[in-house]
């Protein structure tokens, strides 16, 4: 019996679409029990990665292992252990919600009808309603319910929050988090709304230009990055640091760096960045607009920072 500790392992994983690579040389290991945020700009390969994990797409190169199993050779074994929510939330719009539950029940041996009914009742979604007549938020809830009622060990959620209003977003996250607490599932969730992810995730995978830029514990990620704020003349470049991005305002310069060492230089004000700042720094670096002052102000809520808005 396979008893892997990793929920998702990739090595040299790549997917080519014609001449271009949707994902390239992707290697990381996601431990079980984590809630991983999968972030990156559009076209960075987030959906491709999730679809390969779900067995919808076959890799062009490299290997992927889902809960210690191959999505290719142990397809059913993998499929019954995952819950996949597609970005577009495709639905059989003319089917009723209860019919979708019947579909889920007939296609999945571990189906939990009571859980599905409970979720839908809590959300006030009528079983007789046709899926196509529900609001976008309710459709997303139905899709998530269909995922969760499979009782998956690994949830692969592609942009589950996209196009949802704030209330629907928080309801969906509520349902998801309750499941994570109750069932202890591993989650990989892609999103553009980094703030939403920061509250729930403890692992971060950043994809840039079809490659993995970061795959790390959130805690370690935050601890190993520093935001340096100093006069425009200052330079943060030393042997111990990797500069991720630099943004200049009129009076000062902000550097986001990766380092394991404390910063001794007194000309810098050193701040622990938020996940959003780190992700934005990586995205900005790759888009080649590092010098644009796209984030001129620091959030005012920060305790240690004494930075004033210009």
């Amino acid at each position: 019996m396979v008893e892997a500790q990793a929920a998702l392992t990739t090595s040299g994983l790549g997917k080519r679409y014609g001449r271009t690579w949707g994902l390239q040389d992707c290697s990381f290991q996601l431990p079980k029990g984590r809630v991983a945020a999968l972030v990156g700009p559009n076209g960075a390969g987030k959906s491709t990665l999730l679809r390969m994990a779900a067995g919808i797409t076959r890799p062009s190169s490299g290997d992927i292992s889902v809960l210690g199993r191959s999505p290719k050779t142990q397809a059913v074994d993998v499929l019954r252990r995952i819950g996949y929510l597609d970005q577009e939330r495709p639905a059989y719009r003319f089917l009723r919600v209860e019919e979708m539950l019947r579909v889920g029940r007939s296609l999945n041996p571990q189906w939990d009808q009571a859980m599905a009914l409970g979720h839908l009742a809590n959300l006030g979604i009528a079983l007789k309603a046709r899926v196509g007549t529900l609001s976008v938020g309710q459709q997303a809830q139905v899709a998530l319910t269909l995922c969760l009622a499979k009782r998956p060990e690994l949830l692969l959620l592609d942009e589950p929050l996209a196009a949802l209003d704030p209330l629907a977003r928080s309801q969906l996250m509520g349902v998801l988090l309750r499941s994570v607490v109750d069932e202890g599932n591993t989650v990989v969730m892609s999103s553009h709304v980094i703030a939403d992810l920061e509250a729930v995730c403890d692992y971060v995978i950043i994809l840039l230009r079809s490659r993995v830029a970061i795959a790390d514990d959130l805690e370690h990620l935050l601890a190993s990055h520093r935001l340096l704020i100093g006069p425009r003349s200052a330079s943060a470049v030393t042997d111990q640091v990797v500069v991720i991005s630099r943004t200049d305002t009129e009076r000062q310069t902000n550097w986001l760096i990766r380092t394991e060492m404390p910063i001794a230089d007194p000309s810098w004000e050193v701040v622990e960045p938020t996940l959003e700042e780190i992700v934005l720094a990586y995205l900005r670096e790759q888009s080649g607009v590092a010098s644009l002052p796209s984030m001129p102000t620091r959030p005012q809520t920060r305790g240690e920072g004494g930075v004033e808005a210009p």
Partner: protein
């Protein structure tokens, strides 16, 4: 999965059944009329007269002859239905799921893609067979009533026996294969119908070779062979008792083609990644 596959095809099937019922009414109506016109003509004795027809005979003759206009139309409908039903049932089978993205839902449930496809093809195939099969007794009665000719004659041949079911299943798998390859149900239907018609016309054209023919010259006894299918510019004919042999060869050809299309569908659907 069976229930699911049935549910997805339910509307299509009900529409086809409704169309079938309408067609049945129309065929019974015209068939009864044709039958009456024919019976009247036969009982009048006009067919045995050698001289010019009386006004009454002309009237009866015109009445029966007048049925030709819809007899031809009805035959066309009966030729078309297996192809239409089959292609329309088959084309969306895989294509609609890919168009709507629902393949990514169903492919991530706890069954393999092959299992999914097998059940869908089986259910769709049975529904197609049910519709085309229901057509056969109706067509057999109607062709008799409308005097469309010997069963071995192509005019009648294509709508009786087991040919319509075989055509229907061939069209269904043609639609399914095109849908899986093109991934657009509309296009699969648009391409499938002419392809089906082409295949039917081609086989129909070759059909008279499928069983040994009898030459009129060899018929020295002078006894009438009964209703036959004249072939080869009328020099030879296929006797009525070759009907099942011809149906068998024709069915075999379409079944082999269907199996190839089945293989193509499975390959295309298994290979397709999104």
């Amino acid at each position: 999965m069976t229930w699911f596959a049935l549910r997805l095809q339910r509307l299509q099937f009900l529409v086809a059944v409704a169309a079938l019922v309408l067609l049945a009414c129309w065929l019974v109506l015209t068939g009864t009329h044709d039958q009456a016109a024919w019976t009247a003509l036969v009982h009048s004795g006009c067919l045995r007269t050698t001289g010019p027809w009386s006004t009454r005979c002309n009237l009866l003759g015109t009445r029966f002859g007048g049925t030709d206009q819809w007899t031809l139309a009805n035959l066309m409908i009966l030729y078309a239905i297996p192809g239409l039903v089959g292609v329309v049932f088959g084309a969306p089978l895989v294509a609609r799921e890919i168009e709507r993205g629902t393949n990514r839902f169903v492919w991530t449930q706890s069954i393999t893609r092959t299992h999914w496809l097998a059940v869908k093809l089986l259910v769709g195939g049975l529904l197609t067979a049910a519709i085309t099969g229901a057509l056969i007794p109706l067509a057999e009665w109607w062709t008799g009533a409308a005097q469309t000719g010997a069963q071995v004659d192509p005019k009648t041949f294509d709508v009786v026996g087991f040919a319509p079911i075989v055509y229907g299943l061939f069209a269904f798998l043609l639609g399914a294969a095109l849908g899986a390859l093109i991934r657009r149900s509309g296009w699969a239907i648009a391409v499938g119908i002419p392809l089906f018609a082409g295949a039917r016309i081609l086989v129909r054209h070759c059909r008279w070779h499928f069983a040994p023919t009898t030459s009129w010259a060899s018929n020295t006894t002078g006894a009438s062979p009964g209703p036959v299918w004249p072939v080869n510019n009328g020099l030879e004919y296929q006797p009525a008792n070759h009907f099942w042999a011809l149906q068998g060869v024709e069915a075999a050809i379409f079944i082999v083609a269907s199996l190839l299309l089945l293989g193509l569908t499975v390959l295309a659907a298994r290979r397709w990644r999104s």
